[in-house]
């Protein structure tokens, strides 16, 4: 029985266990006095911050803000799929991914906010567009399912090596958040890989759409791996973005080769998200995200 199940899924199965970061992550979390990495919740971080056990410096907070904004904007985009996915099973799958990303966002934003005496909600709902630090990729519209999968494929292959490295951060809270996130993102990588292979190798139409989706999203790859003064100052606390590019190229090429897709000709767009310069889309995302909270400033929900 095991044999037949394994056989049927052999060529398309890509669940790579990430066992080594796990144990390190747990140590990181425990060092911070937080629960083990796989159970770290935003509430735990808020509590640790309140008790003064976890207060990041300015640079770490700004770094956490970037990671949190990426995840928040992506979650907001993915949430739109729930009740609109191509099949009910996929409603549930995309919902899980959106929930994972929202969880990461809440943890990073809670931690970032503790540096400035702000809550996750104050950061999410009461900052203006130029104060958001997310990269352009995350705010790109969902498009069709292929465009969403293209975006997921890039995001997951960026976030996975990022969080895997961040597990070793000298900042114990960042390490703990990454330890929880890396396992979830590993699954997101698998999910997007499965769909890239199927859409590219399915029908003529699905292949055409997959190619179009990648063409739309690939220009935003470049910005993800740009270093700047902040990432340089972080030292062991953060991960140097450019150091992740080789692994990103290797991992994506493996799947793209199997799918017989070529992205080498797509030009890179000008980024700017890390400095608060966004594409045309973020304003609308924030308008929807923030409308109710801003209607009742100071209210509790």
């Amino acid at each position: 029985m095991t044999q037949s199940l394994g056989d049927a899924s052999a060529s398309a199965t890509r669940i790579l266990p990430s066992s080594s970061p796990r144990s390190q992550a747990r140590d990181g979390a425990l060092a911070a006095g937080a629960p083990p990495g796989n159970a770290l919740r935003p509430e735990d971080i808020a509590l640790a911050a309140q008790q003064g056990a976890a207060k990041p410096g300015e640079d770490v907070a700004n770094y956490a803000l970037r990671l949190g904004d990426d995840a928040l904007i992506l979650a907001q985009r993915l949430a739109h799929w729930i009740s609109r996915a191509p099949e009910l099973e996929e409603d549930v799958a995309l919902g899980n991914i959106a929930l994972d990303q929202l969880g990461h966002a809440r943890s990073f934003l809670t931690y970032a906010g503790s540096a400035w005496g702000k809550t996750e909600d104050e950061l999410a709902y009461f900052r203006r567009e130029p104060e958001f630090r997310s990269a352009h990729l995350f705010e790109q519209p969902n498009g069709d399912f292929a465009a969403t999968i293209a975006r997921q494929f890039i995001v997951a292959n960026y976030q996975f090596p990022l969080y895997r490295a961040l597990v070793n951060s000298s900042d114990p809270l960042l390490a703990a958040i990454a330890a929880k996130a890396v396992k979830e993102v590993d699954y997101h990588r698998d999910h997007s890989t499965q769909w890239v292979l199927r859409l590219a190798g399915g029908t003529e139409e699905s292949r055409r759409r997959m190619i179009a989706g990648l063409k739309l999203m690939w220009p935003f790859v470049g910005e993800l791996f740009e270093d700047d003064a902040l990432t340089a100052r972080l030292g062991d606390a953060g991960v140097v973005p450019s150091s992740l590019k080789a692994e990103f190229d290797r991992a994506t090429a493996e799947v793209l080769d199997e799918a017989e897709l070529d992205v080498s000709a797509y030009p890179m767009a000008t980024g700017g998200g890390r400095q608060g310069r966004h594409s045309e889309h973020l304003g609308f995302v924030l308008a929807e995200l923030q409308v109710l909270a801003r209607e009742f400033p100071g209210a509790s929900w």
């Binding site: 060529s11 549930v92 929930l99 929807e288 929900w301």
Partner: protein, 323 residues
């Protein structure tokens, strides 16, 4: 299976079926069952599944605008659960020989029904609270007895659904509680939502007993365990107590406990409106169906792609084995 004249096997099957019901045991997919029982179950279970799927929409309407990240997570998980519940129920219905495609086609073509409450719009955040507290509350009252439905797969699906539903009702109650204790505007928003969802939630139990043609047979088959009015009255009693904790009021000054019958009673409900909405003339009927249809149609190329890929992979695998 053709049923021209009752065969010997049918007679034995019917006898066995009656024995199962008499013992209050469970009917399983491959057992003989009367055609009417099968049809009735497919109708009820698929309606129930459709309600979960259409019911995602009024709440999904607020996911992107949820006023805190915690509430956003909770609401997202809840709407996602509803997709899950729809799936549990479709698979229970499929054991009766009707495919999900057939059921989905009936839904998008408008020939299948779903709970008419989902044809009302969610116009404020407080509606997320009212739906959780009252609509899910009513659903739980309806569903808990269904865990003992005589058809095994239905009962098992309901056990799973009910376990997950209780979180839905509590989160809704908490939303209202938070609003009721908030600013005057928030409090007004909560009361307004309770006012709008009260009557529709009571009507979720179906028409009054003397106007509910299917109920009797359904009870005889051990599918339904309590009548519509029994469940509705019990539900009103719960609301009366719970609304006090919220510090809000029910929009019904005729709610009272009848000492003679030992039952809760409520004011008259507008069954004409109920029939209108059920017949497709509610505020959001067309919108809800259109959304489901477009999701289904827009997804067709994805489903086709995955099938085509699976076929190619299987063919490749077969070739390798043969070589």
């Amino acid at each position: 299976m053709a049923h021209e004249a009752p065969s010997e096997a049918d007679a034995a099957g019917a006898e066995n079926f009656e024995r199962i019901l008499a013992k209050d045991s469970r009917v399983e997919p491959k057992d003989w069952m009367p055609d009417a029982y099968r049809r009735s179950l497919v109708r009820q279970i698929s309606q129930h599944a459709h309600s979960e799927i259409i019911g995602m929409q009024p709440e999904a309407n607020w996911i992107t605008r949820a006023p805190s990240l915690k509430r956003k997570s909770i609401l997202m998980a809840k709407v996602q659960d509803e997709a899950g519940h729809g799936l549990y129920l479709y698979s229970a219905a499929e054991t009766l020989g009707t495919s999900r495609d057939e059921m989905m086609d009936a839904l998008v073509q408008g020939t299948a029904r779903y709970s008419s409450i989902f044809n009302y719009p969610t116009v404020t955040w407080a509606d997320m609270g009212a739906i959780g507290w009252m609509v899910d509350g009513a659903a739980i009252c309806n569903q808990v007895p269904l865990c003992r439905a005589s058809y095994g797969p239905y009962g098992r699906a309901m056990v799973r659904v009910c376990k997950e539903e209780s979180f839905h009702q509590r989160q809704g109650f908490e939303i209202l509680l938070e609003l009721a204790n908030g600013t005057p505007e928030q409090r007004a928003m909560a009361q307004d939502a309770v006012n709008r969802w009260y009557a529709p939630s009571l009507m979720m139990f179906g028409p009054p007993d003397d106007d509910s043609p299917n109920s009797k047979q359904s009870m005889a088959w051990n599918i339904k365990r309590f009548s519509n009015d029994e469940l509705r009255n019990r539900f009103v009693g719960m609301l009366v107590e719970q609304v006090k904790v919220l510090g809000l009021t029910l929009p019904d000054d005729e709610v009272r406990f009848n000492e003679d019958t030992k039952k809760w009673e409520h004011g008259p409900l507008d069954w004409e409106e109920f029939k209108e909405v059920l017949a497709g003339r509610g505020p959001c009927n067309a919108q809800r169906l259109e959304r489901r249809r477009s999701a289904h149609e827009d997804g067709a190329w994805v489903r086709e792609a995955a099938s085509a890929y699976a076929e190619k992979q299987a063919a490749e695998h077969a070739q390798k084995v043969a070589a």
